[in-house]
């Protein structure tokens, strides 16, 4: 699916990674590791097409990202540190907008998705009165809605409780087994025994 060759990125005169290469195939999970400030988020933003300050090639289905941008955006789901949840809107309104913005979020109805993330009954409460974990769940409801094959997730488990983490792990396993692929950063030890997780340590590249 995604091929990365010779990736080089420098920020504030510090080389974050040099000669980074990997290939992500369907059915794979790539966990990016590294200490704080090692460039995990930067790498994910580059892979999501949100940052263009890099050198090297990123190819989506053998086409350079710059040419395949439209196809890529229809096939990729990015959930960043900031989940794009508006605190003044209710979870229902937030999801409604997310689905407008990204047509590939069409697997379930809004209410089914809210039920899945455990926010059933909270659909009319403005997000600023929800807890941090619940707000995170609103952003992660995208995962239940998405039909995109590639997921790029930046610290998806922050602020989630144990049950929430286990549910997301099961969801990732299901997604990968049904032909998807996931790239994620997390400091949490992934507990998905049924699939093979590849690791990429950014510290070892320096």
């Amino acid at each position: 699916m995604l091929t990365v060759k010779n990736l080089f990125c420098e920020r504030d005169e510090r080389i974050l990674f040099n000669n980074l290469e990997f290939e992500l195939k369907t059915g794979e999970v790539l966990q990016i590791e590294g200490q704080n400030g090692s460039g995990k988020t930067t790498l994910l933003r580059i892979l999501a097409g949100l940052l263009e300050a890099y050198e090297g090639d990123i190819c989506w289905k053998n086409k350079p990202l710059s040419e395949a941008r439209d196809a890529y955006y229809q096939a990729m789901l990015y959930v960043g540190h900031l989940a794009g949840v508006k605190s003044a809107l209710t979870p229902e309104e937030n999801l409604e907008w997310m689905m407008q913005l990204a047509p590939h979020l069409n697997k379930l109805s809004i209410f089914e998705a809210l039920k899945k993330v455990g926010l059933y009954g909270f659909e009319d409460v403005p997000c600023h009165s929800l807890s941090a974990g619940q707000q995170r769940r609103v952003g992660l409801a995208r995962l239940y809605l998405s039909t995109a094959p590639l997921w790029v997730l930046d610290e998806p488990f922050t602020a989630l409780d144990k049950k929430g983490v286990a549910e997301k792990e099961a969801l990732i396993a299901h997604h990968v087994q049904s032909g998807g692929a996931v790239i994620l950063t997390t400091h949490h030890e992934l507990n998905i025994p049924q699939i093979n997780i590849r690791h990429l340590n950014l510290d070892s590249l320096k």
């Binding site: 949100l50 940052l51 300050a53 955006y73 508006k86 003044a88 997310m98 990204a102």
Partner: protein
Amino acid sequence: MNFFFAAIKRDLRLSFRHRNDIVNPLAFFLMVAVMFPLGVSPEPKFLAEVAPGVIWVAALLASLLSVDGIFRSDFEDGSLEQMLLSPRPLILLVLAKVFSHWLVSGFCLALMSPLLALMLFLPSEGVTSLMISLLLGTPTLSLIGAIGAGLTVGLRKGGVLISLLILPLYIPLLIFGAATVQAAAMGMPTAGYFAILGAILVVSIMLTPFAIVAALKISIRG
């Protein structure tokens, strides 16, 4: 098209939940009309003469006050990233955002302007022209302002920079806008002025969305 209306609906909903953002520019607008006669001279004849310019300057600054916020909150909570990643046309989204900004700023300012005209003794012949000139001019203020907002959204303190970037581009509008009202107040024909304001608006609608999209991409993608 559905997407366009959904975007407008979302932004209006957000505006109405942050009522401060709507009331602030309007209060500023009104405040100028209240303070100006106190500071300069309450003489009706003098006020009638300067009213067109004062009202237009106040509208322009009030619009500038709110334009910084068009993309700010979406940038801060990550919504803007998701917008750039959307397969939907960004130009449509940007137009929707600017339009909803105008509805809660410029449009309300234009609706309020007769009150200011009354307070500043603007001759009654000029009031309709004042409203129409503001209705034609303020959308351009929002469109041009959005370019500056897009360029400075990634900066922590973009407030001053945005004024420096945009104010020079507001000047032609101020000149023609105030001149329209002045001409109308003196009973002279205004069709030519309206035509110019309309032309500026049409050109802005055609060209600025591209600039706004480019500005946002520069700000986010680096």
